[in-house]
Symmetry: D3
Subunit: 211 residues, 6 copies
């Protein structure tokens, strides 16, 4: 029996640059026609700092920029949850972000926070696993318990009970950590939906980061 | 054929006050042991104002009060979404809050925001319908479209597409209104989960309000 | 940072009485155009008794009254299940009714039987919890086991097995009690669907009962 | 390439009669230990009639026979729904019974009412299709609309709306027919659950009927 | 109270032969218009063998016969999985086939492989139980574990973990058996979908086999 | 209001190489202990060709290599479906593979076929979108119809009907194309499950391909 050769995956049926999925993602950030509002000096400085350190302003911030009060509220909550002192490392918070976003299939958050997991961990496959199926990852008991709680809270919030909190405590988390896991998972249940409702596009730069 | 009399629903099998569901709801606000943090003057004033105008501090605020920065971020976002100028009336925003919380079966938010719908509308049954099944309510096309969007965004955020936004525009909503509907629905997808994850109890006073 | 005042929930955007959700609920009981049939003397007496003791005839009875045989069969089964001697108290049977109706989001049954739970228990919040999420209630092991069985039977009848019956026996229920729990839960899976299929409206009087 | 012969499905790995699935189905009718109660003369006559005409008493009746009042209520409702005059033929009512039972995966009802569809229609494959997937059957528009309504009412009762009733009217059904379709579908949502909760076994005779 | 007689299920509302569900199943095998391709001598011999031993060529083979390479690949995989030496008996493989097809509600596979379970076991009710709800069957621990794995793999492949494989090992299966259970269940997840996507009809002869 | 700086995602909390997710993926390919079988000359040549052209043997082939007959059957079907002449381009077939694998959350197939989509299209974000949520991609009507069919067939095979096939024909597909879309989608519903059941790991090389 004569067999076909294995597929040569380098043989491209290449899509022209102007038709690529990222072609407009840095200019048409959402499906809503909302004009940039007047930003406060604090927000202007924040955008400048993003530009300087990341090379771009994350599109989620640009999306909120039609209204300075909304932008400030979002930034304050985001920065507190993801960057303030916590029993959870920044990487752990990003892992929660991606696992939650995977359940909700949120393109924006999977791309942006998948990049963060890759960068913070130095383990690109960890970012892929959080985005694809966290159950297939080789996780410590701590991380598995953390993500089981976050994903159950995402999928069936009505079924959360004391035994779910107790499982976190058994894995070494304090009550304050339980709050933080819950709060980060809950925040992405909000962000995922704002992004999905508005067809928010991730900055094209995220795709190549930390591969 | 001899038949039994109709049930006399006044014949109580009464539960003693100390065993009622609300017995500890005003003192044990969540299942997490978190100490009250130091509140900023702004937050102290805010709590005082709640006490003065509502007669109590909503338990969600007390729950966040273990950390002033988290409390401030929550209050800022909540007040902006629910009280700031918008193409949506305050009642409409509360209707979204309750319909979303119904999908997520969040006891805290159903009780607290169900009371708000009753109070703002003067139509207690409207509050019940938002909590039980918004599809059974007699709604204007505007309100039905608004809630269909909010509940779909809650149930299957991955399936939101241009046609969902277009349905809102057809019902008379602007792009800014679309943002606000999405943002309010998304916020309660966060709040519902923080409440469910921590077993947050609603203040007992809500139950009797505006019946 | 200047903050907005807490919402004053007494500031109504009041809905006129003629547009309230209950406006027609006592006259247009279902979405089907069915003429009242000839009632037997037994059923006429039963309706008179309802009027005398409750102040109204429950709309579900009026809905069935287009055909006396159907009405009699429904009344016989309802009265046997909810009022006949059983190892389950009347309150327990009403708790099952509401928890099942919550899963099925049946407006009629949630309103009518939610009132019954409030009245029988003297604990209005218990009625709310059965309607919103029984898992958030502070329940005895007996009641939790009873409702877990009833709601699983509602949600995934195909998955019921000996271990589910055994869990009831472990919680102190006899085999006859198991039948009664199953029969009441099953009955509301029928009633919920008749009500939802016909858009049956609850009598407006239920809303204010036993708050 | 040498190939294996097609499977000869007559080569049995036969299971002894005492281990067959039906071995105890005619003697151990449910998983509950409930003693036969005293039957009224009417019920005794009904059982005798079953024995005479069917050759056996359906196990569902034997299961209810621990309590004469419950048995009478069940029989009255069953006979009214399935046998009384209606715009739906008896076959149509049995088709609904089986399609609903298929969604609920109720072994008892699929076997007993599957036999009824085969017998009433003279088309054994129609019984199989109702039990396996009614969408794969070659149905008239009337029957497809009828079953779509019945199965949606079974799967998502909370989503029934005027457009569902209107689809039945467009297919030629009267409002009375809508009631009957709803009532039959709802009844099997009850019966399926009583059977599944108690592990009710179908009489072994059903399997071979009308093949 | 006068009661109606039990239903006489022999009173047919018979459907004419030309309108029966099987009327065209042996001639119009799928909904796709695909011409028979040129079959290799091996495939011609295989079809002839089917005709000789079964009395017909299974419609799934006729459906694939528009392209000899596709047919050969399907036959090779099918025969290896279902007939080659394995720690699983042929009956066990057919039980998996039917339980998987039941979850997927695949009419073709339920009919064809349901017949195989009846024939191989000599226990017609076993075939019915696999098609209706395997959880209601009286199964050995081995068979229950095998089907639990196969059906979970069908329903939520993303949730398979080491504990699922370990449950099979505890029930006495080797790692090679685990592969075979997985491979057979997976194969029917493919076949069910090819059949459902193309409206593949089972040969009418299957219905009466081994009843 | 003083604000925190944007997160510097380059500040790694780096995971050591030996603990990275890919550490053992090229040596421990599945969770089953199965010995390499004797490969036929054809399969030996095929493995050599893979090594030469891809630089490695895909782990799925190594996983099947415990049994030459199973390996040959898999390779024959795979090569026919993915590489043989078809109205679908190779890229289109890989897009289906990834969109189906996304629904099933299959880590192996998402990594391996995600790489293929990136390579064939030259548009890395297209691979991400297929893996994350195909509904968020900017697709032609042809591709959207193709993926809607493939994903519905994956999620609810029981609900496929003529209107689904007709939608493909309206999008320009022939009946043969319909078969090919169905066959590719169905094949990955098999492969995804074999991979998930056995915890199959993707070769580490895929992660960096065509980024």
């Amino acid at each position: 029996m004569k067999r076909k050769k294995p597929s040569n995956i380098k043989a491209k049926q290449s899509i022209p640059a102007t038709e690529r999925q990222t072609a407009k993602d840095d200019s048409e950030m959402t499906a809503l026609a909302l004009q940039r509002g007047n930003l406060s000096p604090a927000m202007q400085a924040y955008f400048a700092k993003c530009q300087e350190k990341l090379g771009f302003v994350p599109n989620v911030l640009s999306a909120y920029a039609f209204d300075n009060a909304k932008l400030e509220a979002f930034v304050a909550m985001y920065n507190d949850l993801m960057l303030a002192p916590s029993g959870l490392s920044k990487l752990e918070r990003e892992m929660i972000a991606v696992a939650v976003s995977s359940h909700n299939k949120c393109y924006y958050c999977l791309v942006a926070h998948g990049a963060a997991v890759r960068a913070l961990s130095g383990d690109p496959a960890l970012g892929e696993l959080m985005a694809m199926n966290y159950r297939a990852a080789r996780l410590s008991k701590r991380h598995r318990a953390m993500l089981d709680f976050a994903v159950k809270l995402t999928a069936e919030p009505w079924a959360m009970e004391e035994e779910d909190r107790e499982a976190l405590r058994q894995a070494g988390f304090t009550d304050r950590d339980v709050w933080d896991i819950a709060a980060v998972a809950s925040f992405y249940n909000m962000s995922n939906r704002v992004a999905s409702a508005t067809d928010m596009r991730p900055n094209s730069a995220y795709h190549k980061q930390a591969r």
